[in-house]
């Protein structure tokens, strides 16, 4: 191989790789952002403004109880975090639909008098058989973790990063809606 050919090949290959990297950067970043927002939202509600990768569906409570129904319509970010007292919140709240590259994720959270009693997955990543398998494996782990932690601030389930991110973000939206 001549020097000119080798140089052009190296240059062209590096350019192609750089372009691939740049194209992929938003996808990689949104994953990081999703993880970050899901796990930091509880401490600063203002940070839970919807990241670009998530859908804009407004979280709404399916069975709002008296006193929290009005608050559920407005995003938590709009009001001061101290507006509602967490204690006494009761109901089942659907989280937002979070789009990931392996499919949508949505969970619903049941809260009984200020305690998270149940988190159920309404929809999990289903893009391909492998994603379904991963999600089915990760969901029970995430459920028990968030029930123990009583928040969306839990560890990433390794090998199921996208499911974890979507799960926790959708759950955080539900908690925000419940003014939890």
């Amino acid at each position: 191989m001549r020097i000119r050919a080798a140089a052009s090949a190296a240059l062209a290959s590096v350019s192609v790789l750089a372009i691939g990297w740049m194209v992929g950067a938003p996808a990689a970043e949104s994953l990081q952002a999703t993880l970050a927002s899901a796990t930091t939202a509880t401490t600063t509600p203002a940070a839970s403004t919807t990241p670009a990768a998530t859908s804009a569906t407004t979280p709404s409570a399916t069975t709002p109880t008296a006193g929290t129904g009005e608050a559920a319509q407005a995003p938590a970010a709009a009001t001061a975090p101290v507006a509602a007292t967490p204690a006494g919140v009761t109901g089942t709240f659907d989280g937002s639909v979070v789009q990931t590259r392996f499919g949508n994720v949505q969970v619903s959270v049941t809260i009984d008098n200020g305690t998270i009693t149940e988190v159920s997955a309404l929809h999990l990543t289903d893009h391909d058989p492998r994603s379904v398998a991963i999600s089915n494996q990760a969901a029970p782990i995430l459920r028990s973790e968030v029930l123990t932690a009583q928040s969306a601030q839990v560890q990433n389930v390794s090998g199921a990063t996208y499911t974890t991110a979507g799960y926790l973000q959708s759950m955080q939206a539900a908690l925000d809606a419940a003014q939890f």
């Binding site: 194209v23 992929g24 950067a25 996808a27 398998a133």
Partner: protein, 471 residues
């Protein structure tokens, strides 16, 4: 039947230097472009993964191993497709590198490609089993049973291993050519069988994504090239040319010249020194295809090959009847005047390698006195086509040197013992070697020795041309 008996190439009697350089430059540009494309295709297959945000999926050991598994699969498959293109008889590849070099590259990519695919399998099973916290065997079993098209991919892998193993030098020389060839054609099935699992089990090549479009275009392009240039074009050319055996002339012990006639052969754009892969349609021979070089310059209605009937069914070649139908693939090869870079010419032949040398001499570009033909033989009598060569040399003003004698035992040389002790070499035989293109055709080991001699005389690669016969 047409009556176009003129030769398709004419010997030029003008000083050739100005014509040859631009041709060489064009060829090198094409070769560079093809090599760059080859490397870029590997880069693109990595970029497919990066473009999907793959760079972020290296944070945990399980993720990193899985990501590497995806990458090795992509690069390995890309190399397999490159290999298939190299063997697809693409005109551009033949023009830039010649069939010989292209096949040598094809051969050298075989093992790396297989290793990458095997790494793909091992890494993905390991990565998934780490993520799922199960044993490797449990993970492998669940992947085969639960993921779609995995059995098909596994079958493809089995075929691929079979193809590569039968192509290892040790195994290959113990197999009849036809058996090896049929096994080798299974590589098409192997690569096709791997496609469904890439599209259904993976999460990268998702229908409608840019990656998906690129990957399918790549597969389609390769499949289309193979179909057109390996199968359709040879059939169409054979049907058009309507080649039949015109006559068989005995040249020496078991060596015959086969004259073929056909129509409108000018359209093949065949050159002296090129070879075709021939198939003679007789009951005993039709299932075998043989590569043989032209031993005379092609004309508008005739071709001639000179062959040595070696073993198996090719022993039946001297008995070919007049009128036997002949189909062919070709012409192939860069062992032609088109590869020239220098004004003078040195042609070196041994054994049946004299065939392409004889046709080259007929039409190559050189001034009288600027060409030397070196014919190597065991004895002065056992060389083939020597009388034809002598007549051509006289007509075109080339010098003919017949060097007879056995090679000395235990010494790596292409010359007989007597010449070695007299310190004869290519340089002493041809004083103006540095301004010459050297064309070498003979048995593999012998050819290597001549090439070595030419290199040690300081001849650059672009001035050394050789073709090897054995498969």
């Amino acid at each position: 039947m047409s009556f176009d008996t003129r030769v398709t190439q004419r010997p030029l009697r003008v000083a050739p230097t100005p014509r040859i350089r631009p041709e060489y430059k064009r060829r090198m540009r094409l070769a560079d472009t093809l090599q760059v494309l080859c490397f870029v295709s590997v880069a693109v297959s990595i970029a497919l993964f990066l473009g999907d945000g793959g760079a972020a999926r290296f944070s945990t050991p399980a993720d990193a191993i899985t990501s590497l598994g995806v990458l090795t699969g992509l690069v390995g498959t890309d190399l397999l497709l490159v290999m298939m293109l190299l063997a697809a008889r693409l005109p551009a590849i033949d023009r830039a590198f010649g069939h010989d070099s292209a096949m040598a590259l094809h051969q050298s990519l075989g093992k790396p490609a297989l290793y990458l695919i095997l790494a793909h399998v091992v890494l993905l099973i390991t990565g998934y089993s780490l993520a799922g916290k199960v044993t490797i065997f449990a993970e492998a079993w669940s992947m085969i049973t639960q993921l779609p098209d995995m059995l098909l991919a596994l079958a493809g892998l089995g075929l691929l291993i079979l193809v590569v193993v039968t192509s290892l030098v040790i195994v290959r020389h113990r197999l009849p050519y036809e058996v090896w060839h049929i096994v080798h054609l299974l590589s098409y099935a192997a690569v096709l069988a791997a496609l469904p699992h890439q599209l259904t089990s993976g999460s990268l090549l998702i229908a409608g994504s840019a990656q998906w479009y690129y990957w399918l275009a790549l597969y389609t392009g390769v499949a289309g090239s193979i179909l057109v240039f390996r199968f359709i074009l040879p059939v169409v050319r054979s049907l058009r040319a309507r080649l039949v055996v015109e006559g068989v002339d005995e040249v020496g012990d078991g060596v015959v010249s086969i004259r073929l006639s056909g129509r409108r052969l000018r359209r093949l754009k065949a050159s002296s020194g090129q070879f075709f892969i021939w198939r003679f349609w007789t009951p005993g021979l039709w299932w075998q295809a043989h590569p043989f070089s032209l031993s005379a310059a092609p004309t508008g209605n005739s071709l001639r090959i000179t062959v040595r009937a070696l073993g198996d069914a090719s022993a039946a070649l001297p008995g070919l009847r007049r009128g036997t139908r002949v189909s062919f693939e070709g012409p192939y090869g860069l062992f032609t005047d088109r590869a020239r870079t220098s004004p003078r010419l040195v042609l070196v032949a041994a054994g049946i390698g004299v065939a392409p040398i004889r046709s080259l001499l007929e039409t190559a570009t050189f001034l009288p006195g600027h060409a030397t033909v070196i014919l190597r033989a065991h004895t002065a009598e056992d060389s083939y086509l020597a009388d034809e060569l002598a007549a051509l040399c006289q007509a075109r003003g080339a010098e003919l040197r017949i060097i007879a004698g056995k090679r000395p035992a235990g010494l790596n040389t292409w010359l007989p013992a007597k010449a070695v002790s007299a310190r004869v070499s290519l340089k002493t035989l041809v004083p103006q070697l540095r301004e010459s293109d050297v064309y070498i055709c003979g048995p593999r080991r012998w050819t290597d020795e001549v090439v070595r001699d030419a290199r040690s005389a300081g001849l650059p690669t672009r001035q050394i041309h050789f073709e090897r016969f054995d498969w």
